[in-house]
Amino acid sequence: MTNPARRLPPNESAVTDPGTLPDATPQTLDEDLLIAEARQLEITWRDPAGLWGWLTTVDHKVIARRYIITAFLMFIAGGLEAGMMRLQLARPENTFLGPDRYNQIFTTHGTTMMFLFAVPIMTAMGLYFVPLMVGARSIAFPRLNAFGYYTYLMGVVFMYVSLFINMAPDAGWTSYVPLAGPEYSPGHRIDVWAQLVTFTEIAALAAAVNIIVTTFKMRAPGMSLNRIPLFVWAQLVVAFMIVFAMPAVAIGSTLQLASDRAIATHWFNPAEGGDVLLWQHVFWFFGHPEVYIIFLPALGFITPIIETFCRRRVFGYTAIVLSNITTGFFAFGLWVHHMFATPIPELGQSLFTAASMVIAIPTGVQIFCWLVTMFSGRPRLTTAMIFLLGFFITFVNGGLTGVMLASVGFDKQVHDTFFVVAHFHYVLLGGAVIPLFAAFYFWFPKVTGRLMNETLGKWQAWLFIIGVNITFFPMHILGLNGMPRRIYTYLSETGWGPLNALVSAGAVVIVVSVAIFIVNAAMSWRGGALAGANPWDSYGLEWATLSPAPNYNFLNTPVVLGRHPLWDTGSPLPVVTGLRSDRREVLVTTTFDAQPDHKHKHPHASIWPLVMAFVMVELWIGSIFTPWAVLGGVGLTLLVMLGWGWESSMESDVERVATEGRIVEAA
């Protein structure tokens, strides 16, 4: 939290910081003037003091950092639940957890990992880095951003309070009806799930809208669409996927499931004309893209890491961008492959088989591009690179079993068995968590100003890769040997005991590895080596400002002349000036070519996002107990919107300033 580099005026760092010394600008700016301006900006963008400032901040870095930390805590919580499950399954007919508790634990594990860890942490990485990578002062809708985080946080608290009072959902993270319906799941356990999903939907949509608008309208001058960093491209595609996928689950859980349970509608009651398969369609129309919503941002982490540590510009930028878009598009055409065991016409199944195989192609394209990049570069095996090797070892395995699962005949054999459990853990740990750890090691200095310990890091990386493979590889065999998933115990006659013991032992290795990470992160945050602005000599705009980035991100908005700004132009970067420092202003540029368009007033700290999140609590958690809460919630929402809008309108009394002539384009 406290970092000397963070406070201005740090004369030394101002001098070493390429972003702040725009020698190349036509008017050579006086150094003293720059420091004065930095000081002024620091004051302008500062949060109010004390607790009030802590609650009202709209700084995208502060919010995203909370987001990342909360989501990582959820990773640990979900991991502990996984550990309990592995303890229970380590030997046949174990009695550590009974069926009631086990079902709650495995449902909470899945729900936590998908809704409270994976999606939030991926969007949070975007919320932190997209503005920095596109050279913006801040994010497009900072209050919406804060509101999204608080809503997510309420969901987290809601879920875990439920777990501790024996009210956690217990019908699996997929909550299939009729098991999750009112007749077979009495009480409020499934209501908790349905409304938790609502909280995370709102949070994800808020993040997605923010990322889309920030990417389209707030890029640094010169960063035309074909120069957007691949990290940002991945985030952009995912943001659009969220916009299209989340409404499906909103309809499914918030509208249909919740109202079936609370006000006796009959969406899923076949006796009254409903249909239980409707739920599966609606759920998987969201659920399958969800996997890619988690996985694509991770692919976005990989490219800059490979480029930086191989000292080579990535091969096939256009191909990778198109792969991302194709994946995002096809991801919506695969959902039925989760339903091959249901009575779906065979012709339809064949279509989804073909689509499930096609989606392997764009991912293959990206992998081939990275391999070629590595081959023709000069790689250095830092911790992040070791993690990426783990990505190839682990993710490719998961991807290939995914292609196998596209086959209807084979899928019907291993669907809902441990083979599938192995498959999706290979994909999600290999394709998302391993790149995420690589990203942590890579961008940690940008967030904290300090480097992580590489020795501990390499230990962690290898232990994690080995642990994941020991844990999940035997599950393939268990699935083929007939072990269904979501069972709380099994008979010793099945012969599944020894392999399950091995799996549980592998889980211990993962726990050790994550423990090392936590120790490493905590120690490095306090006492790691100072990183400086650009410790890896990387190319992105985020490395052109201080580490950690000041609250105004960039002293002057950088100008981009290529895909790899710091490598193409060399530092310091040319800048545009003209944004006022005594007032929160951001530069808005055109969507395609990123030409400066106008300056936009940027909001100040506000308590309304937090208040609105509490209204969401009243609305969604209240709706479990009485439908009247919805009415009350809508009323309160309108009231809070009034307050929110009132405050905004009091602020935006300033006219939109035509920027013509004030922005100095650098040479």
Binding site: P178, R378, Q413, T489
Partner: protein, 335 residues
């Protein structure tokens, strides 16, 4: 070492067993196995190639210098063109491999989708957490209602119609064919075609609540002659007890809680909440494949089912010791 060798042993022995995809007992699963092994070999080669390439790329031109001391690699144009060629070739190879997979999968799928015109029809109804099995006969009086065990003849496809009484279950006999869900509001069906007589184990494969883990179904594949004999035997009504203790046991069964949920063909017990017990004594297991059918297990199950299958619909029964003994005596006569 012992643990390691037992793990190795079980990994090696993992290609056989009564509940194993890789130990086919009929033509459909055999063709799925061919598909699986073919895909596995290709996938293993691709995986090894990618991993070797990644490791080689990372190690062959490895450097230990810091980034800022190393110039950015500038790739000459002809090398860039070569890379385009390599990537295009690899993508082409991927497309071809996937196409081969797809065509192979479609041929297997077509073979599996064949519907024989006439066959024996069996109805399997899923309950939380047991299986009801109806052997359909054109003559309605010959309808046989059984539970928690499925008998089929070898060498011919048997149609299994699948229904659910409560939540979604999934019927899966790994050695014979892939699974099919039992969905309320739908009737789906599949064909069981086994050619190796033996005892296999099916297990519910769709999470169905508390006792999903203990919802198994022994599947007995008979030779054709044996099956006919078994069917005739199974259609007989419940055996009349001979000795006095079994006669007492029958009274306990009819007067007590048993008959309100369980039916006995030919006796005044019509309950349909629990499994039909007409031939309980000749079943291999009790509690849906959970316990071997022994006298001790039967007694334990009657008295305290909730500690064996917590949440199951069978309540605990406080019976006097003599009544319990007589009841078990009676149940053991129901061959």
């Amino acid at each position: 070492m012992g643990v390691a060798s037992s793990i190795m042993g079980s990994a090696l022995a993992s290609c056989s067993g009564p509940q194993n995809v890789l130990d086919p007992a009929g033509p459909p699963n055999r063709s799925i196995n061919h598909l699986f092994w073919a895909m596995l070999v290709v996938a293993a080669i691709i995986w090894a190639a990618v991993v070797v390439a990644a490791l080689w790329a990372a190690l062959s031109r490895r450097r230990r210098t810091r980034e800022d001391l190393e110039p950015i690699v500038d790739v000459p144009n002809e090398e860039q063109r070569r890379h385009v060629g390599i990537v295009t070739g690899l993508v082409g190879a991927t497309v071809v491999t996937l196409l081969i997979f797809l065509v192979y999968d479609f041929t297997v799928g077509r073979a599996l989708a064949e519907r024989p015109s006439r066959s024996l029809t069996i109805e399997v109804i899923g309950h939380q957490w047991w299986w009801e099995v109806h052997y359909i006969d054109p003559d309605p009086s010959k309808l046989l209602v059984d539970a928690n065990e499925l008998h089929i003849p070898a060498g011919e496809p048997v149609q299994v119609k699948l229904k659910s009484q409560d939540v979604i279950h999934s019927f899966w006999v790994p050695n014979i064919i892939g699974k099919r869900d039992l969905i309320p509001g739908y009737t789906s069906s599949l064909f069981l075609h086994a050619d190796k007589p033996g005892v296999y184990r099916a297990q519910c494969a769709e999470f169905c609540g508390l006792e999903h883990a203990k919802m198994a179904l022994p599947v007995i594949v008979h030779s054709r002659a044996d099956f006919a004999a078994w069917l005739a035997e199974a259609r007989s009504p419940a055996a009349e007890p001979n000795d006095s203790s079994a006669k007492e046991g029958k009274k306990v069964f009819l007067a007590g809680a048993c008959s309100s949920c369980h039916a006995l063909t030919g006796v005044e017990a019509y309950g349909t909440i629990g499994p039909n017990l007409t031939h309980i004594a000749s079943r291999r297991t009790i509690a849906a494949g959970t316990l071997p059918n022994t006298r001790g297990n039967l007694g334990g199950w009657i008295v305290d089912p909730q500690s064996i299958k917590p949440g199951a619909r069978m309540p605990s029964n406080q019976l006097a010791a003599k009544d319990l003994r007589n009841l078990i005596d009676y149940l053991e006569t129901l061959k």
